[in-house]
């Protein structure tokens, strides 16, 4: 059943991603939406897959685009189409899901609302003691720090901005704001790589576990690999943030599970005659949320099933930076001679002692994995450790040499073409190539001067040779050599004739 509540946008879809970012989707969010959630309002664009496990008769979906309303319609499901402020302020829901955030709940027809006002409108739908699942984009997240200046999308008739004091800035500010509004935050997650489809959710509890740094770093690195050109490599930035305890502060988005105070009704005025007590089963389901979701897999402390330790790449780069070549050779040899040889170094966790390399993804071609590490070394600015050109194939061959393996750069398999370039890396590449060209020229000049010296020496030796040939013993020797040559020719012609005959 689809109801037009007012303010709906005709010929508009948030779900298809043509007018702005894609709708909230992805397996990571799905694991937060496992039933039972009781009566649920799904507010804003969410991929249908996210709530398909919920009983449709308990779910109400609110979208602002008419196209989305028809796309979502299915038997039993209530679809409301229009702008949030048109919705009657009736606390009718056990759970309100707003994982797409607050910025696509009001239509172009509505007067602009502040972030607080929009959240108030949402909370008015929630029963006391009910739960809010809220997604919030971090306007100072890794994704924004590396982004090239964006072109405004159709949906940016007003633009979310952290200059706005009504919008909480930063993770701590967000939590304070929610608490002030009568919400008790039960779980909060750092979401990577984006609000719309996070593949990794990390709770602050799991981030506080230092032994999981490797597994979490590998997950974040996979998540933030850029699909388009960027200012700086988000993988280096995000994994660096993780190492520095800033994974939450610099996350592209946060996902919050919060409980509305059991009786805020007194403050909000007289409530309508609806059932206010939350369902205890819903409570259990929401509190039992995982500590992390990585690649579609829910992970809970203390027995996470994740390998404990740092990534091999971390160990390798640390050894490179302290110039510990023996350690570097041991690590490279252990990697390339073991079952994890075909796994990129950033996707291997070194556990132990005794040290063991645990692969987080299936193995591919070992030389491709080695080449990928060479690429990381060059892009990360570590290549000056080796006195060679900053060339991936060349460095791969040297790295193979460090494991005792003979490898020509020509035999190194081609790397995958990067889907995106980082502007910072391009500038570094330009500077490196300029330097290498200058060095090649200097070397050329040196060889040229050496060649001149050798030519002069050769000339001197030839002159001496000519002088010596003019002397009597010299002439005798020349005649002897000439005679021998003539003899050789004669013998050859005899042999040829004999064979021919």
């Amino acid at each position: 059943m689809t109801t037009l509540i007012g303010g709906e946008m005709l010929s508009w879809s948030d779900l298809d991603g043509t007018h702005g970012p894609a709708a909230a989707s992805g397996d990571a969010l799905r694991s937060l939406l496992s039933p039972p959630l009781g009566r649920t309002l799904v507010a804003g664009p969410h991929a249908p897959r996210l709530f398909e496990a919920l009983p449709p008769e308990q779910v109400t979906v609110l979208v602002r685009g008419a196209d989305d309303a028809s796309a979502l319609a299915r038997p039993g499901l209530t679809v409301l189409c229009g702008s949030l402020e048109k919705l009657a302020a009736v606390p009718a829901y056990d759970t309100v899901v707003a994982l797409d955030g607050l910025d696509r709940l009001l239509s172009a027809e509505a007067d602009p609302h502040t972030w607080n006002e929009t959240l108030d409108l949402l909370l008015a739908q929630l029963k006391p003691g009910g739960r809010l699942l809220l997604g919030v984009e971090n306007l100072f997240g890794v994704h924004r720090l590396v982004a090239l200046p964006p072109a405004p999308a159709d949906s940016d008739w007003v633009v979310p901005d952290d200059h706005d004091p009504d919008r909480p800035a930063g993770h701590a500010g967000l939590l304070t704001r929610l608490t002030r509004l009568g919400l008790r935050v039960e779980r909060d997650y750092a979401a990577y790589p984006a609000l719309s489809s996070p593949s990794v959710l990390l709770s602050r509890e799991i981030l506080a576990e230092p032994t999981l740094a490797g597994a979490l770093g590998a997950a974040v690195a996979t998540a933030v690999r850029p699909p388009a050109d960027v200012l700086a490599d988000p993988v280096r930035l995000a994994t660096g943030a993780l190492r520095n305890g800033l994974a939450t502060e610099l996350a592209p988005a946060w996902v919050i599970v919060a409980e509305l105070a059991p009786d805020p009704a007194a403050e909000r005025g007289p409530g309508p005659a609806v059932e206010l007590a939350p369902d205890p089963a819903v409570e259990r389901a929401l509190i039992g949320r995982p500590d992390a979701v990585i690649g579609g897999r829910a992970v809970s402390l203390p027995d996470t099933g994740l390998p404990r330790g740092r990534t091999l790449q971390d160990h390798l780069l640390a050894a490179a930076q302290r110039r510990d070549l023996p350690a570097l050779r041991d690590l490279l040899s252990g990697w390339q001679s073991g079952p994890a040889a075909g796994v990129p170094a950033g996707q291997i966790v070194v556990t132990g002692p005794p040290a063991e390399m645990v692969a987080l993804i299936p193995a591919g071609e070992p030389l491709k994995a080695l080449r990928a590490f060479a690429a990381t070394v060059i892009a990360g600015g570590f290549a000056h450790l080796w006195p060679i050109r900053g060339d991936e194939a060349e460095l791969t061959a040297v790295l193979a040499g460090m494991t005792g393996r003979e490898l020509e750069p020509a035999d190194v398999p081609a790397g995958d073409a990067p889907p995106a370039h980082a502007v910072g890396d391009l500038l570094a590449d330009r500077d490196r190539l300029t330097r290498e060209l200058a060095e090649a020229r200097a070397k050329h000049e040196w060889y040229e001067s050496m060649l001149l010296r050798r030519e002069a020496e050769l000339k001197r030796v030839r002159q001496m040779n000519a002088l010596l040939s003019a002397t009597i013993p010299g002439k005798a020797a020349t005649n002897l050599v000439g005679g021998l040559r003539a003899g050789k020719r004669a013998v050859r012609s005899v042999v040829r004739r004999t064979r021919g005959g």
């Binding site: 110039r323 006195p387 061959a397 040499g401």
Partner: protein, 291 residues
């Protein structure tokens, strides 16, 4: 013979030893694309007479020299260890080697450009007072050819030898130099000199008990680059004296010669720009070619 980037790479047959380690023809080592440290050094590892071409790698013996070179503005510096350490790795001392005896003594020498100033007689007296066993004195070829100097040491009852020419400008090169030096050192239980130098480091790594004592003498117009002899005595105090702590001395020699960080042949070949050995799989297994 093909030239290296610098003629000093072939001093003492260094590139010959490394070519052998790499499984290549050690009678005719290929061009080494870089500068190779050719003696124990308290500076940036390179000889002061080197002309540098930017971007050409500098291969040094030890991590300490690499750090120092970097601090002095050198780049493209890579620690490969001393050729001597490779030689010792390839030529382990046989279990049935004859018993070592006496001291091999290296008086501080000048070189082709600078001669030595000092009293050989005084030094001989100090050696006699200190050493209890037979003494072999090893002279640099210049002093060895000087009949007067040689006679001084011979009259003192010492055996006088010379390991050979070091060579230069791709002429008079002596690939057998280090082999002769190793064979001589292994005949002796002690190695000594009046200045801490390559030979003391070499001897220590070759299993001799090191000692540095006696008048350190002077070079004509000796310049104290990088702090000179005074700094050597101060910084490497553990290596000075007639009787040293063996384990400390060994540790110092291993560090200074980079003997604990030798490269696999494949890595060395790649960095030197030497040809690969793909046709010889046995070599990669053992690291050494039997010949």
């Amino acid at each position: 013979m093909e030239c290296g980037v610098h003629h000093a790479n072939h001093y003492y047959g260094h590139s010959h030893v490394l070519a052998r380690y790499c499984g290549l023809d050690d009678t005719d080592p290929p061009r080494l694309h870089g500068y190779l440290q050719h003696g124990w050094n308290i500076g940036d590892g390179m000889a002061p007479d080197h002309e540098y071409v930017p971007g050409v790698p500098k291969f040094v013996w030890s991590e300490r020299v690499r750090r120092r070179a970097w601090s002095l503005g050198r780049r493209d510096v890579y620690v490969v260890g001393a050729p001597w350490a490779y030689l010792i790795a390839m030529e382990p001392e046989p279990a049935d080697a004859p018993k070592r005896e006496g001291t091999i003594w290296y008086p501080f020498h000048g070189w082709e450009g600078q001669h030595i100033i000092g009293s050989h007689d005084g030094l001989i007296a100090e050696i006699r007072d200190t050493e209890t066993g037979p003494v072999t004195v090893c002279l640099y070829w210049q002093e060895f050819r000087d009949k007067r100097v040689r006679a001084l040491y011979e009259r003192a009852g010492f055996r006088v030898i010379c390991h050979g020419y070091r060579g230069g400008w791709w002429k008079d090169l002596d690939p057998g130099f280090l082999y002769r030096q190793l064979a001589e050192q292994r005949r002796h239980s002690r190695v000594a000199s009046n200045r801490l130098c390559s030979a003391i480091m070499y001897g220590t790594l070759a299993g001799c008990e090191p000692a540095v004592y006696g008048d350190p003498m002077q070079l004509e117009r000796e310049k104290s680059a990088f702090g000179g002899q005074a700094r050597i005595v101060r910084e490497w105090a553990d290596m000075h004296g007639a009787s040293l702590d063996q384990s400390v001395a060994r540790r110092v020699a291993v560090d200074e010669l980079g003997a604990d960080r030798l490269l696999p042949p494949a890595e060395l070949r790649r960095l030197f720009g030497w040809p690969s050995l793909r046709e010889d799989p046995d070599f990669e297994l053992t690291g050494v070619l039997t010949r």
